[in-house]
């Protein structure tokens, strides 16, 4: 039986998301979205290493590359730092990233991928034209739109918004996309969405446009929500966002309270596990 699991790793603050899929033959497939590791605090790396060890997977060259893809959701340092180290350790078939206005940390990662094909076998940008498999799950992109120029207001609005579909269930990952993006694509949130990562760590501008929620009414009420909190130095998630979820009785979890959050589906049902 196929399975898909998305784990929001508690990295203290910021995003780092492990995707794992077990296909119908029992083979595992992995991908990683973002990292916020620095030289002293390698939260994602340590989580990944322990996780693979617990699964009995040997981290050695014969098993490389570990990742089907590593995705930089957008070109901000708090989502990209540490990715180079992780690609060096685990290797990836594909390093993918969105379009950008100013590349920032992405330049360094592009340079790394180009010079070290043994660590990242292929690299390219992604948009709504692209799709990639992860075991039996299919991943497509709701944003950025193919052919559109990059958004110039903030790199957050060039964030990849991705749909992971297995069987009758979709999971949605949202990067740091803000209200300007949701005004354009909220209606494209699929009806079969059963998990959605709250955009931009639960900040106001990821969920509200003034007084109005920008994506909540397009998200099925049965969807579970996960927040990769960013309490330092920002106050993310914002209390207004939490109040909104409480008011609408949405089921939500947050990494600053519940630690690692795992959302899992067999294509028909969804379960959630958390550490605290």
């Amino acid at each position: 039986m196929s399975r898909l699991k998305v784990t929001l790793i508690d990295v203290g603050w910021g995003d780092s998301i492990l995707l794992e899929s077990e296909d119908s033959q029992g083979k595992f497939h992995f991908a990683l979205v973002d990292s916020n590791d620095n030289s002293e605090m390698r939260s994602s790396y340590i989580f990944l290493r322990r996780h693979f060890e617990k699964m009995g997977l040997k981290i050695k060259k014969e098993n490389m590359p570990f990742f089907r893809f590593v995705l930089l959701s957008h070109a901000h340092t708090d989502h990209g730092r540490g990715l180079e180290s992780i690609m060096r350790e685990f290797r990836t078939e594909n390093f993918i990233y969105p379009k950008f206005h100013k590349p920032g940390i992405l330049s360094k990662l592009q340079d790394f991928a180009r010079r070290y094909p043994m660590y990242a076998s292929h690299f390219q940008s992604v948009d709504t034209m692209d799709a990639i498999d992860l075991g039996d799950a299919v991943i497509t992109f709701l944003w950025p739109k193919h052919g559109d120029p990059p958004m110039e207001d903030t790199e957050n609005n060039n964030s990849v918004v991705m749909r992971l579909k297995l069987g009758e269930i979709s999971f949605i990952l949202t990067g740091d996309a803000e209200k300007e993006v949701w005004e354009r694509i909220a209606q494209e949130i699929p009806d079969d969405t059963r998990f959605l990562k709250v955009p931009h760590h639960g900040s106001e501008n990821g969920t509200f446009d003034g007084q109005n929620p920008v994506w909540l009414y397009d998200c099925p009420r049965s969807a579970k929500l996960g927040i990769s909190s960013h309490v330092t130095p920002h106050p993310h998630p914002h209390q207004r966002v939490i109040n909104l979820f409480n008011f609408h009785q949405m089921e939500f979890y947050r990494t600053d309270i519940n630690y690692h959050l795992s959302f899992e589906t067999d294509g028909q049902t969804v379960s959630v596990k958390y550490s605290h």
Binding site: T77, S85, K108, R114, Q124, A131, N205
Partner: protein
């Protein structure tokens, strides 16, 4: 401050990654380069302060200037040379990390994503302590105001990093065109393959 390598006036290049102006939170996230290693060294190092012979097991070292006698990263080649020189040593690589600085320490005209500034080690240490929770927001802001640390916009380095970034985009574009067999599929093609 700019470009001087005298002990008293060492400066650290940082690049603005994001400028936040959310209500009371008025800070910029800034990136810096460091040399990093996670492997044990194979040669004994003589600690210059304590004079104790030792092996290093992993380290992080903040990059202030290009190698050789250059005083600024004022050419894209200096940036490429830096990575290549560091990576020639087994186990070493150039890492990117970040710190937060109050918006008011930068001149407003140049306070934007991609701008390179040079800051003093004292300010860096303060920001590093803030990043690691050693001091609070209020203590950080207050000390920055009291000390009025000078920061200097570095137009040459800003331009060099922008040019270097453009070179990476060109390289990536060429690589993409040269490798059509590796491109991600469209959804229709992927579904066909997965049947």
């Amino acid at each position: 401050m700019n470009g001087s390598q005298g002990k008293k006036s060492v400066s650290i290049p940082i690049m603005i990654d994001d400028v936040k102006k959310d209500g009371h939170f008025q800070m910029s996230r800034c990136t810096y380069f460091s040399i990093a290693s996670n492997l044990p060294s194979t040669e004994i190092t003589q600690d210059p302060v304590l004079n104790i012979p030792s092996f290093m097991i992993g380290f992080t070292s903040l990059i202030c200037y290009p190698s050789g006698h250059s005083k600024l990263f004022d050419k894209p080649e200096e940036i490429s040379k830096l990575f290549e020189a560091v990576e020639k040593v087994e186990g070493l690589f150039v890492d990117i990390n970040d710190i937060w600085l109050p918006n008011f320490v930068f001149d407003e005209a140049n306070r934007e994503r991609g701008s390179v500034f040079r800051i003093l080690p004292e300010l860096f240490k303060l920001a590093y302590d803030y990043q690691n929770g050693v001091i609070t927001d209020d203590e950080f802001i207050k000390t920055c105001k009291e000390k009025n640390f000078p920061t200097e916009y570095s137009p040459e380095e800003t331009e060099a990093f922008q040019k270097w970034g453009l070179e990476q985009i060109e390289h990536a574009s060429k690589y993409y065109k040269d490798n059509p067999s590796k491109w991600l599929k469209t959804l229709d093609k992927l579904k066909e393959e997965m049947k």
